[in-house]
């Protein structure tokens, strides 16, 4: 076929495809009725075949370029879009996530190990050289052992609590996201983040132990820590999953393996958002509540309950879920 008659025959179809595309790009695929959807598919396939023909038989660079861009637009409009499905998300949260977590248990354990090594290191450093460790290793805003006759925590009213808990939540999520993002540095950044968080906790523990206030430490840390520390470790674990895609791609191309592992890492990472939300509420509402409101035993009980709930969630749910349904979410 020569170019002239090729153009003459096909141009109306291309125009129609352009019209539909304009519509779809504005208001989405779902706005097409059945007839239009069928027509859209037909016109797209036809344009793709026209492009093929233009590339092969007809020499006219402008036509080829035009068809190329038309097919590219239609391809983007048709493929790769996923709809937001709240039900699938909830199903994933309850049944899919525990399975994902268990799949990456080694990564989680690696993060945990680093955290503990950091903790021991921090504790020992604090033991041998108090001033340095306190000056350099403790973050600015933290709890401290109560002086004699002082209540362990300042009293907040509910209004201040909202500000405090939102600060805690955003801060902790940021730390977790950063721990994950640093996975791209072949995991080295994540290793450092896990270690450093461990060091901070270790130094803090040393400070309290020295002041003979171990219970204050436990009640101040544990109620939210039982969720917050695992969440942070999950951030680290997902960073390691990401790094694994970089480091151990074989036998697949590194480009594809990275993308696959990246998706898994995001799946793992986003599960810790609910954990951190609950942890922030616990930290603001329970851990720093004044003692007359919640006594120490009660605080520890809260910690125990939430720790058990977390363990049950991670260990008990999602065993029977077929793996194909997880990827839907």
């Amino acid at each position: 076929m020569d170019l002239a008659s090729f153009l003459r025959q096909r141009r109306l179809d291309w125009k129609r495809l352009e019209e539909i595309l304009q519509h779809v790009e504005g208001s989405g695929l779902s706005s097409l009725d059945d007839e239009q959807a069928v027509e859209f598919g037909r016109l797209y396939r036809r344009a793709a075949s026209d492009l093929n023909q233009a590339q092969t038989f007809v020499s006219g660079e402008a036509t080829e370029r035009y068809l190329n861009d038309l097919v590219a637009r239609a391809y983007l409009a048709i493929y790769g879009k996923t709809r937001f499905d709240l039900l699938a998300l909830l199903r994933y949260l309850f049944w899919g996530y525990p399975a994902v977590f268990r799949r990456y248990l080694p990564h989680f354990l690696l993060a945990t190990l680093l955290f503990f090594v950091g903790g021991v290191f921090g504790y020992l450093v604090s033991w041998y050289d108090k001033d340095t460790s306190r000056a350099y290793l403790l973050p600015g805003q933290t709890i401290r052992p109560p002086e004699d006759g002082e209540d362990a925590a300042a009293e907040y009213n509910t209004d201040q609590l909202s500000a405090f808990s939102s600060y805690l939540f955003t801060h902790n999520v940021s730390v977790t996201l950063v721990a994950f993002a640093l996975g791209i540095t072949f995991g080295l950044g994540t290793v450092w983040m896990m270690f450093y968080n461990g060091v901070t906790t270790g130094v803090l523990a040393a400070v309290f132990v020295e002041a003979h206030q171990l219970t204050a430490f436990a009640t101040g840390i544990l109620p939210h820590g039982v969720l917050e520390i695992p969440a942070c470790l999950i951030g680290g674990a997902s960073g390691f999953v990401l790094a694994q895609g970089f480091l151990r791609a074989r036998p697949w191309p590194r480009r594809e393996e990275m993308a696959r592992q990246g998706k898994e890492a995001v799946l793992l990472l986003f599960g810790c958002l609910p954990l951190l939300a609950v942890a922030a509420c616990l930290e603001a509402g329970v851990a720093r509540a004044p003692d007359w409101f919640l006594n120490k035993g009660l605080k520890l009980a809260v910690a125990g309950v939430f720790g058990l709930l977390f363990l049950a969630y991670i260990l008990l749910l999602g065993w029977r879920q077929p793996s194909s349904r997880e990827s839907e979410a």
């Binding site: 020569d2 793709a48 035009y66 790769g80 993002a181 640093l182 993308a259």
Partner: protein, 261 residues
Amino acid sequence: MIRHEVLTDEKVPFSYRVAGLGSRFLAWLVDLFLIIGLDVMGIFVGSVLYVGRPGLGTAVIIVWQFVLTWGYFLFFEWLWHGQTPGKALLGIRVIQWRGTAMNFFEAALRNILRFVDSLPIPLPLGPGLLGFVVAACNREHRRLGDLAANTLVVHVERNARPILALADAHSEADCQRLALLRQRLSQLDREQKQTLLDLCLRRDQLRVLERARLFQAASQFFQQRLDLAPDEYESAEKFVLQMAAVLGERPGEPPGLSRRG
């Protein structure tokens, strides 16, 4: 100009034009101004609330800034399938490596890794030195976030129109000449027309010397046969191509005026 080749599910190859660092930087700049604007709005709302309930006002500001820094790019690229306001303005978008639209996971991965790309400034707001260097160092200008999520940024071409294949841009002044050509060309017989079109359509397959020789010959033949002369400075090939374009046009539709825009 770098093009990214994609094979559709129908096994038809096509390509995207990869966005350069310049247009990406401009898009990012637009987004940055938007973020700053939104941030100021949030601070304003928070301050108003602060008067009545200081804790709530502070909470609003904290959460809003958090959402903006981590969420602006993520949510826009997720919900607008690879575009933020800045990218839409510049006509570029993020796509998956295999050419399809981006989904939530890619958007999340790509934009959480903004934090690393923006080093040495530790804010997840936009490529700093590291992202820039990495993007400048690979063919499709992908920063670390792109590499991890297997995405790239391309131009969305939406102004392309079907062009009358063989003809280059006609100006209005050409109309008279076209009318003359059209009239003279009707004198050719079918075989001559076919030869003319064949020569033009297959010109890319010819060697340079042969191509020049053939077009020269054809040009001379048509000049004598149709009593026409090429414009000043017009090459033989261009002269012949113009005639082929006139032959190929749809009846009743002058090529110079048919294109929109």
